[in-house]
């Protein structure tokens, strides 16, 4: 294909995409002149370029579309049909372009139908519009085709064929030239005023392009066809130049280019580079990086090498080069979204729905390779949302929603990943339907299905061949399912997650790496083998040794590490990879790679850590791809091949054990299927009775075994000297006896410098499970019972014990409260109270979303105002509870929302202040009963009001 044509195709396709977006916007706001001008200019440019290259079919079409849009610019009202018509014209243009790309010439076919309609519509408008403007002459510059250049350049384009539809014979052109000697080169095509009626005739002749030469607001002169043609020839956007030199009998396309060059150079400092060239560059840089690594490796072995300095320099230059090349590949994700407004609009029309597409973060950049790979999945998911997710207007109205459904696309960076969310406020996934289908498809047995959580069931939509659409519409059900989406995302090392609330909508979250090519990795050793762990996932390195602060401890068989007052779950890499040779692991020592995946943090225990190295990720053999622990392999500087650990795989392995447990054990949970349902780490222990008890691990600061001899009794309380101060001890219940010899296990809770020891009989295990309290408890200190690891387990209410250790514990600060009734927003800055009250509120039947401060709460409300109540700590750093209340009550969307204040200082003044800013109730932080009661009251009122 000749370069000119190829460039034309690329450029035109891009322009068309832009037009799509703009048109939809235009339809929404027909009065926006600027948008209209933009669209007009784009279509015009397409037309001009087509003419220039001798593509009559395209040109005629674009011309007719342009004519119509010219009318709009003149004030003809923009109707939905008009936009639809233009959109279908653009589709046709694309079709022809496709053919052009494949066959290198315009495919045969007639566009009379469309052109006819376009003209028709333009005519109707024209009738109302004042008489068509006259000749183009009004403007200044004489049109002087510089024939020399023109002729000189495309000499080979002799017209040795019959005229295509829309083309004008050279003779006629010649005549036209003679007749009109003066033309106006226009400064900018955009300014071209309405060429209204004239275009109509022009359309037949095709060429008759309005001379956009006119001065901006000048009356659109009606170009006679021939003149028009010449005018175009001049125009800076390429046009049909053959007009120029009749005797030369050639088309003169290049002339345009020449004209255009300087202008575009000024306008825009970028050049088009073939993607292949970039890819090649990237490969070469990758190889360069490898070679550099090899050299560095060699030099490392020869201490005083004279190569050292230049090599260092080479290394730096390589790094910069690599970065530069990577940058060239970055593109805003908006490029992948460009087509969506159009798709959504068409869908909305087709399905008779009203849909609004919001997008946030279109400028977020990612590697174009990745971009290409997610384009289709994204489109598919948006289609899905529009087709299956959103309801029709009647259904929405019936459900008390606004008639217009919203699909919200957002993208942002997080670490080395880009997160893309596609959210709709539609009907949500019907878990029952999915379950039935999953059973019907044999994906799961009926018995097993009963045990699955709602979220697990929803994830079946990613299974191959799964579609719950009752009927296959033209929109979805085109053989691309969510399974393909997932496969595509998997391929690029991404993850996909789904959250859906029946009746409220669905949110799909995709997380993908920014780039696939080169990553920085930590090289570690396990059982004599080396592995690479992507640096992005690594938070820190900790060396664990027997007698140091950091040593690996065990709770039953689970290795954990105390790290900054938190327990970090650990996994031994060699055990996970089954290369420990069945040997007993070295109990307390090792290097711990603290790794974070999403919100999961864990430690990978390895035997040694070498260094970090830039590695070029090479895809694994298809024979190895099923191993989820690896994401690829690479060649190190020393020439050996090593496997790259996939932190996602390891994280999944952490969850896998508990996942299995859950499936086996959680019948009751599935039945209840509480909306909350996130898994959390729970510490299981025994105290006073053989039945297990549990407490969220995140609440526990440390686990201790204290020498019983150190426990003292004073003033009727048990105390122990702990870390330089006296720590009060509380037994879980009267049946627990504090030991007088040996060691006493206890859970230590600390906050703000104070610690309390909760004495237990035995620490059993740490498990990952869902905390769904099935049966609330009347017994003090027990929130209720939940099924944990298949056993009924009492969940302990830490809030009960804290005041037993320090009477004023809860009154000092932070307590956060959950909201009433279904959905509750709980705002408290103290993680301790967040962790403590959330289970309380869940037990009381609320779906709880916890926020750490007023700003976060507002952001949450803004994103999703469907909360039934807000419970907020009034004493918070930054935006406090009062301010939050003012903001919430000030927003019409959330004004009606009941709010409860939590406070440790319940003075009449503060209560009064709370009332004045809109709090419905004021509860002391430690008053759980009071809180629950207040919540009930608010909810009842709220329900009445609604």
């Amino acid at each position: 294909m000749d370069d000119l044509l190829r460039e034309f195709l690329t450029e035109t396709n891009e322009s068309l995409d832009t037009v799509d977006v703009q048109l939809v916007r235009f339809e929404q706001d027909p009065n926006d002149k600027k948008i209209l001008d933009n669209i007009f200019r784009l279509v015009h440019t397409i037309k001009g370029t087509c003419g220039f290259l001798g593509l009559p079919r395209l040109e005629a079409l674009a011309h007719a579309a342009e004519t119509l849009m010219g009318k709009f610019r003149d004030g003809m009202p923009v109707t939905g049909e008009a936009v639809t018509l233009i959109l279908s014209t653009i589709d046709r243009l694309k079709l022809v372009l496709d053919g052009l790309e494949r066959q290198q010439e315009e495919p045969a076919g007639s566009d009379e139908d469309l052109i006819g309609k376009l003209e028709q519509m333009a005519l109707h408008g024209a009738a109302e519009i004042a008489a068509p403007p006259t000749a183009p002459e009004d403007d200044s510059k004489p049109e002087q085709p510089d024939d020399e250049t023109a002729a000189g350049l495309l000499a080979e384009q002799t017209l040795e064929r019959p005229l295509r539809p829309g083309e004008v014979s050279l003779d006629e052109l010649e005549r036209a030239f003679r007749e009109t000697s003066v033309e106006l080169p226009e400064p900018e095509p955009a300014t071209m005023p309405a060429q209204a009626a004239m275009d109509l005739e022009a359309a037949e002749i095709e060429v008759a392009e309005v001379v956009e030469a006119q001065a901006p607001e000048a009356k659109a002169p009606e170009a006679k066809k021939p003149e028009a043609k010449k005018a175009e020839a001049k125009k800076s956007d390429a046009k049909k130049p053959d007009a120029k030199k009749s005797d030369a009998k050639k088309a003169v396309p290049k002339a345009e280019d020449d004209d255009k060059a300087p202008e575009s150079m000024v306008k825009n400092q970028s050049i088009r580079v073939n993607v292949e060239t970039l890819e090649h560059l990237m490969t070469m840089v990758s190889e360069l990086v490898l070679t550099r690594n090899q050299l560095l490796e060699i030099v490392r072995r020869h201490e005083d090498s004279e190569f050292k300095v230049p090599l260092q320099r080479l290394s730096n230059v390589t790094a910069e080069l690599q970065e530069g090349v990577m940058k060239t590949r970055m593109q805003p994700i908006g490029n992948a979204w460009q087509k969506l407004p159009r798709i959504v609009r068409d869908l909305a029309n087709e399905l008779g729905k009203s849909i609004e597409l919001e997008s946030v973060g279109a400028e977020t950049e990612l590697d174009r390779q990745v971009l290409d790979l997610i384009k289709d999945p994204l489109t598919h998911m948006v289609r899905n949302s529009a087709d299956h997710g959103l309801e029709g207007p009647e259904e929405r109205r019936a459900n008390g929603k606004s008639e217009t459904g919203t699909i919200r696309l957002s993208a942002f960076h997080e670490g080395g990943h880009i997160i893309i969310e596609i959210a709709d406020d539609g009907r949500g996934l019907n878990t029952e339907k999915i379950k039935a289908k999953a059973i019907a498809n044999g994906l799961v047995s009926e018995a097993d299905a009963e045990k699955l959580s709602e979220n697990q069931i929803q994830k079946f939509i990613f299974a191959p061949g799964f579609s719950t659409a009752a009927k296959v519409t033209s929109v979805s059900g085109r053989g691309v399912g969510m399974d393909v989406v997932r496969t595509n995302i998997d391929q690029i090392g991404g993850t996909i997650d789904l959250k859906s609330v029946y009746g409220e909508g669905t949110t799909v979250t995709i997380k993908i790496p920014l780039t696939l090519a080169i990553v920085s990795a930590l090289i570690v050793e396990a059982s004599g083998d080396r592995f690479a762990i992507p640096q992005l996932a690594v938070v820190e390195l900790v060396r664990a040794q027997t007698n140091s602060e950091h040593r690996i401890e065990r709770i039953k068989d689970t290795p954990v590490l105390r790290l900054r007052n938190k327990l970090l779950p650990l996994v031994h890499l060699k055990r996970l990879l089954k290369i420990d040779g069945g040997q007993k692991l070295d109990e307390e020592t090792g290097f711990i790679v603290v790794t974070q995946v999403g919100n999961q943090t864990f430690g990978i225990v390895v035997d040694g850590v070498f260094h970090t190295e830039e590695i070029v990720v090479k895809p694994m053999s298809s024979k190895l791809r099923h191993i989820s622990m690896f994401s690829g392999n690479t060649i190190l500087g020393d020439g050996s091949v090593i496997m790259i650990i996939d932190p996602n795989g390891i994280a999944a392995a952490f969850g896998a054990g508990t996942e299995a447990h859950r499936a086996e054990e959680d019948d009751a949970e599935a039945a209840h299927a509480q909306a909350a349902g996130q898994t959390m780490s729970l510490l299981v222990f025994r105290a006073g009775s053989p039945e297990p008890k549990a407490v969220p691990l995140s609440l526990v600061t440390r686990l201790e075994e204290i020498d019983a001899a150190k426990i003292e009794r004073s003033n009727g309380r048990w105390l122990v000297q702990y870390r330089g101060s006296l720590m009060p001890l509380v037994t879980v219940n009267p049946h627990v006896t504090v030991r007088s010899e040996g060691t006493q296990p206890m859970l230590v809770f600390s906050e703000a410098g104070r610690s309390m020891g909760l004495v237990v009989d035995e620490i059993v295990d740490i498990v990952e499970d869902r905390l769904n309290i099935e049966v609330a408890s009347e017994q003090p200190g027990v929130l209720g019972s939940a099924v944990i690891k298949g056993q009924a387990t009492e969940v302990i209410d830490i809030g009960h014990y804290l005041p037993m250790a320090f009477e004023d514990w809860l009154s000092r600060k932070s307590i956060r409260v959950g909201g009433p009734s279904p959905k509750l927003l709980f705002v408290d800055d103290s993680p301790f109270f967040r962790n403590m009250l959330t289970p309380v509120l869940r037990a009381a039947g609320y779906e709880v979303v916890a926020c750490t401060d007023g700003e976060a709460a507002l952001a949450t409300l803004k994103q999703d105002p469907r909360f039934d109540i807000v419970v907020a700590d009034v004493e918070m750093p930054g935006m406090d509870g009062f301010e939050l209340a003012e903001q919430v009550k000030g927003d019409p969307r959330t004004r009606h929302m009941p709010m409860i204040a939590l406070s440790s200082v319940a003075t009449p003044a503060s209560i009064e202040r709370g009332r004045s800013v809109g709090f419905d109730d004021h509860i002391a932080k430690f008053d759980r009963q009071g809180l629950i009661a207040a919540l009930k009251e608010c909810t009842v009122e709220w329900e009445k009001a609604a």
Partner: protein
């Protein structure tokens, strides 16, 4: 060596695996190399001996003895590898020893004997009766296609 040259001759690279002569179609054999610095891959199928760097490319090594259900080698000699391209990926089949290139007439070709070990039958495209010994034709595609996948499934 057999030099029965009729029109229908095929060229094979011969290799020895566990004392048995195998023939690989010559057009499928990219190169023969000493597998050096093989990196084992944890959790992979047993026949997957590991991955190695062959002139900048990562090659997946398949241990043919495991694949054919033969005992591990105990003569202390190093393996050789035959480089194969399959569906755009590079593989190295680990074998005991590489022999010569043989031109064999179609006339000596026979189907797999019915009683052949099924593990062998699955990867064999028949047998050639050579002078003094039999050569099993190794169907490279079948070795690479259904081997590990079948096991995994």
């Amino acid at each position: 060596m057999t030099t029965a040259m009729s029109q229908d001759t095929t060229e094979f690279v011969t290799v020895l695996i566990g004392g048995q002569l195998f023939g690989l179609p010559i057009e499928r054999v990219h190169d023969v190399f000493m597998p050096d610095r093989l990196t084992r891959v944890p959790l992979a199928a047993p026949e997957l001996a590991g991955v190695l760097n062959l002139r900048g490319r990562i090659v997946t090594a398949i241990d043919m003895r495991v694949r054919l259900g033969l005992p591990a080698r105990d003569d202390g000699r190093t393996n050789m590898a035959v480089g194969i391209e399959h569906k755009g990926e590079s593989y190295g089949l680990l074998i005991d020893q590489v022999g010569e290139v043989l031109k064999v007439s179609e006339a000596t070709h026979e189907a797999n004997p019915a009683n052949l070990d099924p593990r062998w039958a699955r990867v064999s495209a028949g047998v050639h009766r050579l002078d003094g010994q039999l050569m099993v034709i190794l169907d490279v595609d079948r070795v690479l296609d259904n081997g590990i996948d079948a096991l995994a499934a």
